[in-house]
């Protein structure tokens, strides 16, 4: 029994490392090779004891906030790179950009948090409340998406707040 325990323990510790590594690899791949689009946002500032302070994102898009049935949000991109969800489908499209919903039965925008340094998050809320030019950039690959940044005008929000 004791002989088995050490390999089991080592396996468990390897799995402990593998799970967050796999989570990272999945997102890193999208960040590296996905297509970048922009979404207009509104936000407010809440708190998570484990992951820290964040600004809660609400995408200014009629379909993304109206619980339409279907899992796949088909994207339409304008000339400035801003995306809108044009319709929601039950099956993934064969071509074009789309987002996979965070819910099974209806479309829900898959991102609702942008984590920031503790002191910057409340400031971000104030600034974006007064600015209409806030948006997030999202990298998308095969429907999977990762937030790559948050901007005011063309300046990353972290830079905007620290300047």
């Amino acid at each position: 029994m004791k002989k088995i325990l050490l390999p089991v323990l080592i396996l468990a510790l390897v799995i402990q490392l593998f799970v967050p590594s796999y989570m990272i690899w999945q997102r890193y791949d999208v960040l590296k090779s996905g297509t970048e689009v922009k979404f207009d946002i509104g936000l407010f500032d809440p708190y998570d004891a484990f992951r820290g302070r964040y600004v809660s994102i609400r995408v200014e898009d009629a379909i993304a906030t109206s619980f339409v049935r279907g899992r796949y949000g088909i994207l339409e991109i304008d000339e400035n790179g801003f995306a809108k969800i044009s319709r929601v489908e039950s099956e993934p499209p064969k071509e074009g950009l789309y987002l996979i919903s965070s819910e099974e039965n209806y479309f829900s925008f898959p991102h609702n948090r942008y984590y920031m340094e503790e002191t910057l998050a409340p400031e971000a809320e104030k600034v974006i409340g007064a600015s209409a030019e806030a948006y997030i950039t999202v990298r998308i690959k095969n429907g999977k998406s990762v937030i790559s940044g948050m901007y005011i005008g063309d300046v990353p929000i972290e830079e905007y707040l620290t300047e």
């Binding site: 325990l5 050490l6 089991v8 323990l9 080592i10 396996l11 468990a12 510790l13 799995i15 402990q16 490392l17 799970v19 967050p20 989570m23 990272i24 997102r27 890193y28 960040l31 998570d48 004891a49 484990f50 992951r51 820290g52 302070r53 964040y54 965070s102 898959p110 991102h111 609702n112 948090r113 942008y114 984590y115 920031m116 340094e117 503790e118 910057l120 990762v146 937030i147 972290e158």
Partner: protein, 416 residues
Amino acid sequence: MRKEKWLLDEIEKWQTEEIISPESAEILKTRYAPKKKINLLIVLFSIIGTLFVGMGVVLVGAHNLWYKLPIAARTAIGFLPLVASQVLVLYVYLKKRDSIAFCEGAAILNMAGVFSSVAIVGQIFHLPSDFTNYILLCGVLALPSMLILNAIAPLGIYFWTVLNGGLCFDSLWETPLSTALYVVGALFAIYNFRAENGRAVYVAWISVISGFILVWVTSLLEDFDVFISLFAYFALLGSASVLWERAGRSLEISGTAGTLIVMLFATYEGWWLSSIKSDITIAVLTLAFLALAIGILIKKQRVVPAALAAFAALLLRAIWALVGLNSEPFSVVFMIVANVILLAVGVYYIWAGARKVSLLYANVGMITVCTLIIMRFFDSEMSLGIRGVVFILLGIGFLGFNSYLVRMRKKAKEEK
């Protein structure tokens, strides 16, 4: 310790002087070998200390001071607490496996390392809120080191991760993973029911409380009569108390307290007018609990008052639910029977306390009877006149029984 050492030296001498045989000496040495004493304070401080460090690591991770660094650097920082705790776990497993303080501390730090690292991944990639799955994942990942190091301190956190995942947003029976994970934790707790130095008591209470939450919330979610499930659970606790010496006391106390507290609710008429709820899954599980409880008592040939009280309450509620008597005047009948059962249980505990000279039993009985009296005195649902008559009759009954006891004692003295 000194006495034991002296005795062992003496046994050596007896053996050398051939007063006893080497076999007898070996038996005596084993019997009187000094027990390894564990400094509880050191263990507790190591648990509290590592708990603080672990929580500090999680909070520092949440601070997000490194947001300006590239993703690779942030990822490396995220993995640091996990890797450090893994090194400690391996070191403790290989070198300090006999030290409870090290095992508990390493398991707590490893759990904190898992929580922190998975949280930092979420922070780096701005993952959406999914708190339930996040903590469930962390609980599962930290489970093996807790089991292998036989560390009980993180058990409470583990139960929280599993129960929160299964119960807060969904029914546990619809999430078999949570159920299975809960069972793993419960079996680990039972494995430690014979442990020493308060470990058994700690795991007993932690598993009893989490089991209570499990039974209660699952019954609510499955729309089953919560009280039937709870009485079956308390009956099981009462019966199972005969199986273990140290943990058994905690199981008996919790089973008794649970039964009596829930029974106090049953002494109100409104309780018997509520709508009847039933679900076949929970009904089967309740019967399984009950069968297990009765099976233990039959096998051990012991009578546990806590289990008997729970059986009586369960039987009453089950008859009410099965026959569907949730209307007047049946509700009044059930209410009266519930009051009589509770009064009988209280009086039994006082009697048993006096017989066994057990202050705990006597106090449990006194508290039960006094609470029942106070509740009925202020009960606005019953007529003042009826309550007055019942109180007078009960008082006469108690005083009559008391004078009977005094006469019997006098008679016994005279006969001597």
